[in-house]
Assembly symmetry: C2
């Protein structure tokens, strides 16, 4: 299939020009690690720094103070939640720590956390720290193929000691997507709470937290939401749980009346009790235009294009890469896949370096042997995907990776 | 004394033009809440967004990855620490949580935390949360006059159950400055660790953490360091303690090799183990030019000007404000004072509103009856201080505050 013909009929093709495209020849297949800069975001950053900070000075807080809630309300719309169930603050891992710790303590005698081996390592680390601090056990559901998790394994691992199940909706490495509704139902049947990490699915696949009965969620804003490097994360607590859970980290932004400067903590009502300190406004304000673009395009249309583009990529793999020793390390079934596709090759690290430095293609290396091609449908073109695969094949055929070292670079 | 004559001989007068001064007639006396925007910071923000994010995309991490350590090294120079003892990450309160929690757990059977009633409420809240979680007691050393803390009271409260003493070096409300070296010595004599919050002193008064034997510290970058609204905070752990303390929040940025994506947490060596998640780069990068300005001016010269300017302000209070019912709520002795001066008046809230909305003067209201005049010596002029006092007196004399409501605004 001709990529240009596919691009010509893409209903979302107009969105690419809403982003700053510095080098039109760059094949950027890493929007799942760091999304591109929306043009409006550049304007917004200039406004926040050059106008609100510079001229309004401390009065700027009149505009900034409710940003965590206002952004939360917009993200809620993307993930099928009520606007008062989501706030933006801190990092993804700090948010996981707060919610998982709170859930463990609310679950009384139950002291076991169940997760899976495809979860993002930082999530695993936070859980290990919580279990180390509170006492209890962390149970890891294994993957048979390093690509997917068999849901029956989760059910087998849950029991009357399970306080919490938590996993990444879409796995950072393989792109495997859990059936969030079905797994949450299983978790609830065993009396545990369900906490989902939406980092690799938010903004690119439909999520219906309320409909699926999800208790807790966290997620990243700098991937498909295009919020900027390290932008603050979001967290979700369903209405019925908010006033039953207590954050382990008590701070003035989670206090019911911070500007009374009272000596004793009293938690805010609602989800805001999970805020802690003053949020980083430049990074926080930069999130909004990217979220607005997702809402404008509509998550249904985005998912449609994402499925079509990952399927196209898998077709090209079959045709051009499989015979070159490249393995598919993502689920072949598009309904069980997020918006990135992983490939395995023993020389993945050096191939990634050759693609970046010689071929003007940016994929993403994940140790030990994975190459991820992330597709962010608002700006990725079929032409880019086609070029990415062509150049990938060329690097292998001509053994162009051989001139690169095997030292890992420091890139998220 | 003629303010213009004082400005003319001010050795730091050249630094004001290094900041964006949008309205030259604005009397800005709130640099202790939100410092002004350095001109270089505006350029740096444009570079990070418009160049590094937009064009380098994920490759930008090559420049961003060591920012927490590089900025930490520069701040270390300002606070008398080794460069490998300081990092910049998370908010002040999250950092306090991590360090105080770690200290409590490292102190074995001791389970008491001592602090004082002038400490910033968010610090008190974090400590209350820790004690709630770990068990133990929080002891509050009272202030006799709501202005200062008698150091003998601290000694009296410490005992063999005390794990940790923590306080604000300079109090957010009264500006009282502890004798950090002497208090730390007392704390150590009782076998406790000392954790100082430097938020209201860093960048404006000499701090010698190593010389004073301080164990732990945290601090804010958006006040006298001019890092921008809500910019990430710093934390300090002295070398000898770093590998004995364990953060309660385990995350990939505190892992020894985050890009190996191993399933098991292993804490980094050194202070970096207190990092958690991906830092917010726009807000983080914006900190550096302000820190560079402090280093260029020199903390000795800054403190000299700060003492001179707060003394000038107190003189003007005696002459123009005391007779109007305005009380001095800061230590009269400049050696026990930071760089802001607090005044008490029953109508402080409405006076603040009148000053801001009618008089183009920005002070800072702190409930219930405090008006803070913060002096950031790199850009504050004697002329500004003089005008601030003049207009303050005028608002009271003409009862101009009477048209404003008593509802508190949402401003930090």
């Amino acid at each position: 299939m001709d990529p240009d013909a596919l691009d010509a009929v893409d209903p979302l093709r107009g969105f690419r020009e809403r982003f700053v495209i510095d080098d039109p020849n760059l094949v950027y297949l890493d929007g799942n690690s760091l999304g591109r800069l929306p043009i409006k975001t550049r304007e917004r950053i200039n406004q926040v720094a050059g106008q609100e900070w510079a001229a309004d000075l401390v009065r700027g807080w009149g505009k900034w103070f409710d940003l965590p809630q206002r952004l939360g309300g917009k993200i809620a719309e993307i993930i099928g939640a009520h606007p008062d169930e989501v706030i933006v603050c801190d990092s993804t891992t700090v948010n996981l720590y707060k919610l998982a710790h709170a859930a463990m303590r609310a679950q009384g005698g139950r002291n076991q956390v169940v997760t899976d081996a495809l979860n993002f390592p930082s999530d695993l680390y936070a859980l290990q720290g919580i279990v180390h601090g509170l006492g209890g056990q962390l149970e890891l559901v294994a993957s048979d193929d390093e690509i997917s998790i068999d849901p029956s394994r989760i059910a087998d691992r849950l029991n009357q000691r399970s306080a919490l199940f938590t996993a990444s909706h879409v796995s950072f490495k393989s792109g495997f997507m859990h059936d969030m509704g079905a797994v949450t139902e299983t978790v609830h049947a065993k009396g545990a709470l369900a906490l989902w990490d939406l980092s690799h699915s938010v903004g690119v696949t439909p999520i219906r937290l309320n409909e699926w009965g999800v208790d807790l969620a966290i997620g990243c804003t700098y991937k498909y939401l295009n919020g900027g490097p390290g932008a603050p994360a979001f967290l979700f607590v369903r209405r019925g749980l908010q006033d039953r859970l207590q954050s382990p980290i008590w701070g003035w932004f989670g206090q019911t009346d911070p500007f009374a400067f009272g000596l004793d903590y009293a938690a805010s009502c609602g989800v805001s009790r999970f805020m802690v300190g003053t949020p980083p406004i430049l990074s926080l304000a930069a999130i909004e235009p990217g979220v607005d673009l997702i809402l404008e395009a509509g998550i249904g249309a985005i998912r449609e294009k994402s499925r079509s583009q990952t399927a196209y990529l898998v077709q090209l793999w079959e045709k051009h890469l499989a015979s070159l020793g490249v393995a598919l390390k993502s689920p072949p079934d598009a309904t069980r896949r997020g918006s990135h596709v992983s490939f395995g090759h023993p020389e993945a690290l050096r191939i990634a370096k050759a693609l970046i430095e010689k071929m003007n293609v940016i994929p993403d290396f994940r140790a030990p042997d994975n190459l991820r091609f992330g597709i962010s449908p608002l700006y990725a073109t079929y032409r880019e995907i086609h070029q990415g695969v062509e150049r990938f094949a060329e690097v292998i055929r001509r053994r162009q990776y051989e001139e690169y070292s095997e030292t890992r670079p420091s890139v998220t």
